[in-house]
Symmetry: D2
Subunit: 345 residues, 4 copies
């Protein structure tokens, strides 16, 4: 299986290169870059020297069908919506790591992304690639809208409770915390070391583009329109997302009862690891890996559950889940190329 990677010079792109290098059944055949075409990838990223040495090419669509089998887009918001349909029309399966095809509603895309919406015909084809939740749809999809990092951690943390109507969907609050690599490699004060180190910031209160993405899935699982409070924080670390999620229990259930329910829900899903009572996951415990680790605490004093869900934002929150979806689409074991142990410490 030969892969074309578009946008190989961002953090999502090089994480795809890292993961696919270990993948026995797929390999990156070509890389396109609009900004750095003509450069060799190892000159931008010296850590790749002697391992992956390839030129970045300008984007070309003609005859691509003869050269590759699948296209990954690791491009900023607004790029794949115009580019991806051309590859799809040439018969190539596409996995888009950006947010362009995640929202089914054009109005919401335009309201939250502040960009004109993609063509609805393609949006309708897109399957939301939350691997554990939509495996059957993913298997048959031509266009995967790979989920955002915060939505992945949030939805895997919430869906077991929402599906069984154990929590009140009007009470969901998500306190998200992310490492800085989630902001990508573009430079600015928001990623400037001296501004971020030894500092903790909240950002984009009430306007984060992952809000409608989370709500779209939650609404489809509840019997009502779900609106969430979602706050994001920038933590002085490179990798890792933790979502601390709060909701009121409809009827009180103990921590152990909830854990049993999660273990049941994720019984067949090796990348979701539910912790035992008293054991709450930390982000480093999934570092560099495709795991989503979940810890639970049910508080009898308040009748509220606290869910702690952690992922590596560049792996399960981006490139790893994309490879997991590639595995699904090809009928391979979903673990193929993804079973490395987290790098600890």
């Amino acid at each position: 299986m030969k892969i074309l990677l578009i946008g190989g010079t961002g953090y999502g792109g090089i994480e795809l290169i890292r993961l696919l290098h270990h993948h026995p059944l797929a390999e990156v055949e070509m890389m396109y870059s609009s900004s750095q075409a003509g450069t060799d990838i190892q000159d931008i990223y010296p850590h790749l020297q002697t391992i992956v040495e390839k030129p970045l090419d300008t984007i070309q669509i003609t005859d691509i069908k003869n050269q590759v089998d699948c296209v990954f887009f690791a491009t900023p918001a607004g790029v794949s919506k115009s580019l991806l349909p051309q590859f799809l029309d040439h018969g190539l399966r596409c996995i888009d790591l950006s947010g362009d095809f995640r929202l089914q509603s054009s109005e919401k895309y335009e309201a939250w992304y502040k960009l004109s919406a993609p063509d609805e015909a393609y949006v309708k084809q897109a399957v939301y690639g939350l691997s554990e939740i939509y495996p059957n749809q993913i298997r048959n999809a031509s266009l995967i809208a790979n989920p955002g990092c915060y939505p992945t951690a949030t939805l895997l943390g919430l869906l077991p409770l929402l599906e069984q109507q154990i929590i009140d969907p009007t009470t969901i609050i998500i306190d998200g915390k992310s490492g800085v690599s989630g902001a990508g490699r573009s430079t600015g004060l928001g990623t400037h070391y001296s501004e971020i180190n030894e500092n903790l910031k909240a950002y984009k209160l009430g306007v984060h583009q992952h809000i409608p993405e989370i709500e779209q899935v939650l609404t489809s699982f509840a019997n009502e329109e779900v609106n969430v409070t979602f706050t994001t924080h920038l933590v002085p670390m490179t990798r890792g997302i933790m979502c601390t999620i709060y909701a009121n229990l409809q009827d009180y259930k103990s921590t152990q009862e909830l854990i049993d329910l999660y273990k049941q829900f994720y019984n067949e899903h090796p990348f979701v690891r539910v912790r035992k009572e008293g054991n709450i996951p930390a982000t480093k415990e999934v570092y560099g890996s495709n795991f989503c680790d979940i810890g639970l605490y049910s508080d009898p004093r308040t009748g509220r559950v606290t869910i702690v869900s952690v992922i590596d934002n560049l792996v399960k929150g981006a490139a790893g889940q994309a490879v997991q979806n590639l595995n699904l689409m090809n009928g391979w074991d979903i673990r193929t190329g993804l079973l490395s142990i987290p790098v600890y410490p």
Copy 2:
């Protein structure tokens, strides 16, 4: 004003030394330490060399009244409850940075601290030293129970809304995030660099001893028993606390309306800085200073307010507030010795 400092070798203790060194009206005259008596403070902390060079003495109570005017306790939980009454009985005013005298209920102290409760007679004398909220009681107090770091950030963030019954007290959720210095200088895996760096952990879910402290004050401001959900996280940074606080508005008010209300509430209080709309404080913006900065966001979609309250845990969350209380107790301008600019970046 001569100060006796007990427990000078922890982080709270040396922060008191730093702040009092700049104070024109008070100075550290003596330092007691049980663990390191006989050592000079500059041998433990070389940064003090040539500035503060003093021996640490063993604890003695006789004749102390002739030598100092006030005693600060920067000791671990469980120490001051037996030691402080002796100094108080000798007529010395005491400021306790530990949690021993904060909880009015012996049952709660024993349940949350897992220690036997202090003598109720002394607990009743104790004034909770949240400087902006109880200035009159503090002025006349002999025994100050200096607030915890998380409670300071939380209560300053919540009380303007709770007092005016703008929020529903049954819906309060506090997502607390702290730097590692809050855990003190004692060693263990929980403060081990390689375990904490590039990592984010939640800890003490549902059992943090600051829960009853927060609830005690909130309950006194509401017309009902208040129980809160309070989750604490360890952030890979040394200093700083952020509490992100959520509550349902009884009736919707805009962000600007809430800001106006906070500005009114803290009008006379120079250490609380309320940010303007769209401006959310980061922990580094109060680094090394006694400020508590507060930002607000009111979400019309969910009818919920998000309050972001930040302090330096060692200053406003400990030593700085203790000095502010010293100023109050002596009728000095509360800003005395405390008006330094945050160290940025």
Copy 3:
């Protein structure tokens, strides 16, 4: 004493604002900024809110003599060389934190800075503001070329040995290590959090513009032209410089003998603290302060001395030394406004 600050929005500039705020005899009266004129400083730096609230003005020279007494330049290389002479000609004393007037040789300035050299007439007027070494010249200067951060740490570490011909000047190797704030607030991959965090880089090998600055002073103290090996490293921290300096001893002297010599050399200089044997300073032990701490180790096995010299690059390495020079120029106690305790931890 009224100060005009030019370039108030960089890290050198806000550190001057912080230090001068605590200074009893001088205050920042006006701030000029070319890039951000019209903005208020507290809108760029929210940590200054309620403490320093001032507009940034466009640069104007007419009538400035009636409004301020002294001008500080906290501007990038290449700015003050054309701007400063105009203020000097209006009779204002100037302190330049940039490198423009440090090198007496125009050829060297042009070779190392890759910029056209400043007017030699002004270069000749400039006094190199290494406070401990040139106090008399500084007292009478109109134009201070405030030393670079690495040269300050290096020269204070080396001069006691070089002056007494204890080391062989042909063997000097300086291994410099700096926090990221030394690179300023401008954005780029070199200050991007995800590239710098959990990483250690060497940079500018053999071409750092501080090499000729160091050599100029060393040469004036030796009886020969001195060339040094100087390597700089970027350490994942915000503040702090450590220079680890190596040189061959002409005749072996023990660590204690060298310490005695340093203590003698810096006897009258409160900001240089020489550590006792076995005690090597760490950068945090001078954090936020104007101290330069020096530790020594003389190795009988190799006949070589290792000198460890640490400063806070933004204080003793920039703004603090500038204030120290202001104190010298005005006949004030050099400690005025500068005696705060390092912020630890």
Copy 4:
């Protein structure tokens, strides 16, 4: 190939577990721990949950020959010297990650380690496991003394020049910088987060136990006894070692000439990557991988070379090199299980 791992609960031990998990020809069959026998490894390290779930056993030697083929010691200094001979006598090949068998001189071991020396008979059997330098001896060895982290980076950086007598061996200075994981998982102020974060320390000046290890190898390559100046620094990061090495060139050679020589020297060695001119490696560029990246700068002004050598201290500096040696000992391709891409960023 079944492996017995002794000391599985330290950072060297879990890194072995991580690397061997990816190894197609070897697996960890048993783990012994003196301190935590009876516990399951995943209860100490939750990141291993569902991947490696095994009990830690008490140390037993009888019948071990029937159960495993090779023993790895990831134990603190002083443990393997008494334990390892028993396994060796039972016919098991042993790889020791500690320093016990690295020094051929008992006097030096006792002087630098402050411990009684191991039995000389076993010391003589030990092969120093610097894979690129001693591959033939390693292939036939029964007892591998796996090199220390600093010596690995230093020796790979220096030997090409020393072997060809290009540098003067009396002028070698090594400025070493390490992340904190090198200090292991034991707790103390030296690994306390608040003491290390945003700080840079030099430590063990003149007394580091890696000095005799480095000198032993250098001496064997030079025609004279070599003594080096070696200074170690603790950098606020978890993983990574950089050694910045200085030496005088016997006759001047350009940077490019030196690079050519290194490329020739390491031509057959895939884990040493020599950078091209102007490209100096950073520690993150080898993060989590078995690479040693080397950059060079030859200074015509001083006639001195600067060598920058970086490794991941837990991989090439410990567990990775141990696996590389296992590959050599078994005649496998040395890359087996070790060719993962560095985790970047």
